[in-house]
């Protein structure tokens, strides 16, 4: 039995039952409108990258779904199904104090990645899941990278800022402040450099 959970930008997410467990099957479907060389290269590299980075991130102490199997030719990953709600959906429905503590927790997890020189690559609130026991999970590591530089970490923070201002425009200040507080809590003074880079990047893309 396959149930479509979501149709993302680069994949279709199914919920399947295998070995008596509820699992997620992530399939990076081909795109006929892209040049074949580019499409197959992206599907392959992102599938393999995602598998690797899910594991690397977990090693650093960030909860991520465990990978059960991968098919690099069909571009399919089978991994844990996390029963919970996206932070994106939760944000508008919870009391301010909960929102602050969740954002703070999110900031800490991103900082934990950065501390290990890993960037997530797409740190939106859609890619954060709060499970039934209020535990926070990070998913979707297809754009994640290792050996991250200050610039890459700055971009990661910039993307958080961007996601908050577009998706949670009415809560963005509360959420951003708490997220960055959590970030600094983990990284201490070393956060300074990345935070100033974030601001610099934000200005760079703007029309001058």
């Amino acid at each position: 039995m396959k149930q479509v959970l979501a149709k993302g930008a680069e994949s279709i997410i199914y919920k399947v039952e295998q070995w008596g467990l509820p699992l997620v099957l992530k399939w990076r479907q081909g795109k006929s409108y892209l040049l074949k060389d580019i499409d197959s290269q992206l599907r392959k590299s992102r599938t393999s990258r995602e598998c690797k980075m899910l594991t690397v991130s977990r090693t650093l102490g960030v909860p991520t779904p465990a990978v059960y199997s991968v098919d690099l030719n069909k571009h399919i990953i089978t991994m844990d199904f996390i029963s919970g709600t996206q932070f994106k959906q939760l944000a508008g429905q919870i009391p301010r104090s909960n929102l602050i503590s969740l954002s703070y927790g999110f900031g800490k997890l991103i900082a934990t990645l950065h501390e290990g020189d890993v960037v997530h690559g797409d740190p939106t609130t859609s890619n954060v899941i709060i499970d039934d026991k209020s535990r926070m999970w990070i998913i979707d590591f297809g754009l994640s990278e290792m050996n991250a530089t200050t610039e890459m970490k700055g971009v990661d923070l910039h993307l958080i800022h961007r996601a908050l201002e577009t998706t949670h425009w009415d809560l963005q200040e509360t959420m951003l402040d708490a997220t960055l507080e959590g970030y600094v809590e983990v990284l201490g003074n070393t956060a300074e450099l990345t935070l100033s880079r974030m601001k610099e990047i934000r200005e760079r893309g703007r029309y001058h």
């Binding site: 930008a9 795109k31 060389d37 998706t167 893309g205």
Partner: protein, 328 residues
């Protein structure tokens, strides 16, 4: 009563004037683009172009609309964002006309105007907009009373990237159409840096690598082909991310680079995959021109927005998401 709005555009290298009615009928749309003999656009030369040709273009627009200056009810102008000297020249012309004709003045956001003229033409209500031009590469959607930038370039705009590449390859300005022609004869794809960061992207690394291909003697058609496929592929991906994220079911392509047929083909594929409707703004309304400013002026004026001359200073860094959109 029908309103006749004269819209004046002059944010960068193009100067345009158009007349649009409050029913959304485009009566005229005249423009001229500065084409530097070599190099990029110098703001001072562009503003001189505007002050020299502007008055004639405006006269022509009013004449082609079949109107007399005294029948114009509203003057709209591009208040920002853009190049300071160009904006100031345009604003000065608009203020003068407004005072002389005793007609209300409305300052319009250039990027918002691109979206609204696209919505007028396509009958779209709430699209994800891909706005691509010489100076802009943005993915915009309406949320919480404003047009919000979901993604954009972290360095150079796509049109600028194509122009710089074209200059390197010995093409004239603007290079986009020439690159498109050359790409049709490209056979061999050369892998180039593909840089997508969340819903943002970056073109500078790809541009450097493409220049390197040229120095290595790779044929120009192959370079153009590889650059188009890579840069448009990146754009398709962030557009796709925005659609998946916002769950909107309309995709609008606008701005000067919207004239590219390969980009149109790719983005219509994106829309199809997500069961969204797709529209590419027609060439005469896709680039920088006055009709879009006029139409946006009407939308703003109808919600009680008027720009007093003393508040009409230009806004070179006016962000798309800095304006409350009262008419939506």
């Amino acid at each position: 009563m029908t309103l006749y709005c004269l819209g004046i555009e002059g944010t960068a290298h193009s100067f345009g004037a158009g007349v649009v009615t409050s029913e959304g009928k485009v009566l005229s749309n005249e423009w001229d683009m500065l084409k530097p003999a070599q190099g990029g656009i110098h703001p001072r030369e562009a503003s001189r172009h505007h002050s020299e040709l502007g008055p004639g273009i405006i006269k022509e627009a009013v004449k082609k609309a079949g109107l007399d200056f005294h029948e114009i009810n509203l003057i709209a102008f591009s208040q920002g964002p853009g190049l300071g000297p160009c904006l100031r020249t345009t604003a000065t012309i608009a203020r003068t006309l407004s005072l002389k004709l005793e007609t209300p003045l409305v300052g319009v956001n250039h990027c918002v105007a691109h979206i609204e003229i696209g919505c007028l033409e396509s009958n779209f209500n709430d699209p994800v907009t891909v706005y691509v031009s010489g100076g802009n590469t943005q993915i915009i959607a309406f949320a919480g009373g404003r047009f919000r930038t979901f993604g954009e370039t972290l360095d150079i705009a796509i049109g600028n990237m194509l122009d710089v590449l074209g200059r390197e390859l010995g093409m004239g300005f603007p290079s986009g159409p020439i690159v498109e022609e050359e790409a049709k004869n490209g056979r061999q794809y050369h892998s180039l840096p593909y840089s997508v960061k969340g819903m943002d992207l970056s073109y500078s690394g790809m541009l450097t690598a493409a220049k390197k291909l040229h120095s290595e003697g790779v044929p120009i058609p192959d370079i153009c082909f590889s650059v188009q496929e890579t840069s448009f592929g990146m754009l398709a991906e962030i557009a796709e991310r925005a659609i998946a994220h916002t769950k909107k079911n309309e995709l609008l392509l606008t701005g000067g680079v919207a004239r590219n047929n390969r980009l149109t083909e790719i983005l219509s594929g994106v829309a199809e995959r997500h069961d969204a409707r797709f529209h590419r703004v027609s060439p005469s309304l896709a680039g920088d021109q006055g009709a879009m400013i006029a139409w946006n002026g009407i939308l703003q004026y109808n919600t009680g927005h008027e720009t007093k001359v003393e508040n009409s200073h230009v806004l070179p860094k006016w962000r798309t998401d800095d304006q409350d959109i009262l008419w939506r």
